[in-house]
Amino acid sequence: MKDAFGIPQSLLILGGTSEIALATARRLVVRRTRTVWLAGRPSPALESAATQLRSLGAVVHTVAFDALDPESHETVLGKVFAEGDIDMVLLAFGILGDQAYDEREPVAAVRVAQTNYTGAVSAGLVSARALQAQGHGSLVVLSSVAGERARRADFIYGSSKAGLDVFAQGLGDALHGTGVHVMVVRPGFVRSRMTAGLEAAPLATTPEAVATAIELGLRRRSETVWVPGALRVVMAVARHLPRAVFRLLPL
């Protein structure tokens, strides 16, 4: 069960090698979390993430999970939920893709969309149903500011996150009053492995900062979290800029 500050005792991470997810898990394990399920494609990285969290004192299980195989989600996640209540699901998987390459290779672009959007729709719905049955829990969805307004530089990734974001908002409304809390997290540019080699955008942030914001959002039972918080205002303006003006911006 979550405590008065929204800190979960058990945590399921979908996308168990995500740096933001692991930074969040580290924070939560230090506070209260005892059981962590890391779901992801079996890999040395997943195992080393598990080892790291074990060293902080958590009981960590790894589960083979593939976002691109939605048919399997019901079975894979069903097994996890059958083991006991999950207080928080962190939907953290996602790929950035390579915009220029993906524009030339539609199949690669579709893979971005399938991972970030359709994979998340399936995993999100499966998790939501399980959380609703247990009458409590938070579903934390890692979206992105890229989904807020299309940019020339990353609209394939951005469109997939836009879909995910709207899906998560709607899911949150659907689950209102069921005891399940859905929180959409919209980080800006996060300096991590995923963005290595890219030039940092203004208001860039870190996985640790996102983790801090998630912990605060859990306590406040927020529905939307921007990281950093200033992006809420920045994006509110950006969203209303005329296309012709927005195109001219060096973004």
């Binding site: 069960m1 979550k2 405590d3 008065a4 500050f5 929204g6 800190i7 005792q9 506070r31 209260r32 209540d85 049955a133 247990q134 009458g135 409590h136 009053g177 069921t178 005891g179 399940v180 306590r219 406040r220």
Partner: protein, 460 residues
Amino acid sequence: MSADTVPVTGWGRTAPTAARLIRPRSYEEAVAAVRGCGARGGIPRGLGRAYGDAAQNAGGEVFDMTGLNRVHAIDAEGGTVLCDAGVSLHRLMEVLLPLGWFVPVTPGTRYVTVGGAIGTDIHGRNHHVSGSFSRHVLSFELLTADGEIRTVRRGAPLFDATTGGMGLTGMILTATVQLQPVETSLMSVDTERARDLDDLMARLTATDHQYRYSVARVDLLARGAATGRAVLTRGDHAPLEALRTPGLLAGGTRARRHPLAFGTPRFPAPPPFLPEGLLTGTTVGLFNELWYRRAPRARTGRLQRISAFFHPLDAVPHWNRIYGRGGLVQYQFVVPQGQEEALRRIVRRVSEQRCPSFPAVLKRFGDADPGWLSFPVPGWTLALDIPAGLPGLGALLDELDEEVAMAGGRVCLAKDSRLRPELLTAMYPRLDDFRALRAELDPRGVFTSDLSRRLTLQAL
């Protein structure tokens, strides 16, 4: 019987979870509700005054007991009452005071049910004399997980498991309670100020035994030499002749004519959506400063109404709303006699942290009662309300838990919403007996709450 899926929280309004709310209106309906309980179990709930998640049950059922609210029989000679578990102490006072009887123990609110009072084994300002509520319960009827109704008398293991058992042994249907005789519905109250914590503890140790009721409120925002300054209020039920002394009471004539009248003032409730962050070290500190200065340095024999002496906050319905959407955490612990140093350290620590806490309640507990998970042990208890949104509060309270556990003390489960489960065995040595009894009595986990899930109160 009505049933709705609704979000449920405790009085602290933290960590809401959804449950099917079932309101049995007869014993038959109660039996049907327990027998028909789903896989996630159910938990009886009274008036929802427990601060944390004791009367919540995510995804399962919550049995709203307030539909069972009949007072069955009063023995006006011997001073006992037989009533349903859903009867509130408020109702009991309304019924009993005109007959010259009072509830044996009342907490800081009268809006608790008799079932809740037994399930959490409540304590009050008379604990050093009268013990906790269970000491005055002669017997009760318990609807257990198998759907049977058992009569449980004092001395039985099931009695001691149920008093303080947080509703996890079964659903109390009726109880027979021994009452306290009174001549008037007024209290004769002595008030004094203590300039710091040591002064306060010295006064409590020296003269507490002279009073039936005793409590101190500590200003935890005072710093330096004033750390732990407090106002003591102690007293007893006023005898009839006290009303004849002129000048003690405004409106004395009316009081003399109706010495057992039960007056309960009600103010308007705060609006439902107050913003978070109204309560800060500054605003609450200012309040505490005024409160302390307004209190008389020393005053004896002042007559007060029962509601003003015991339940000042009951005059403001929904007072918990002033903490805003984020809610509040109440932290109550007890450290045994002889562990005054731990109490001093905790008071200093809270005071350094500038927690926006209204005057906290400090009391000396008397002898413990045999309830296995009953909270009071002889020693010092402190209860403070803090906005749940205070940055760093979780870590601070974890630190205090360690201090409390090390001193051989414990935190109160009826208030808890955040304890680390690992510390529970150290705090409640009879926890294993409790788990074993539950494993035998309720192997399917019919009685389950968010609290029992969070702290693993069921068999491992």
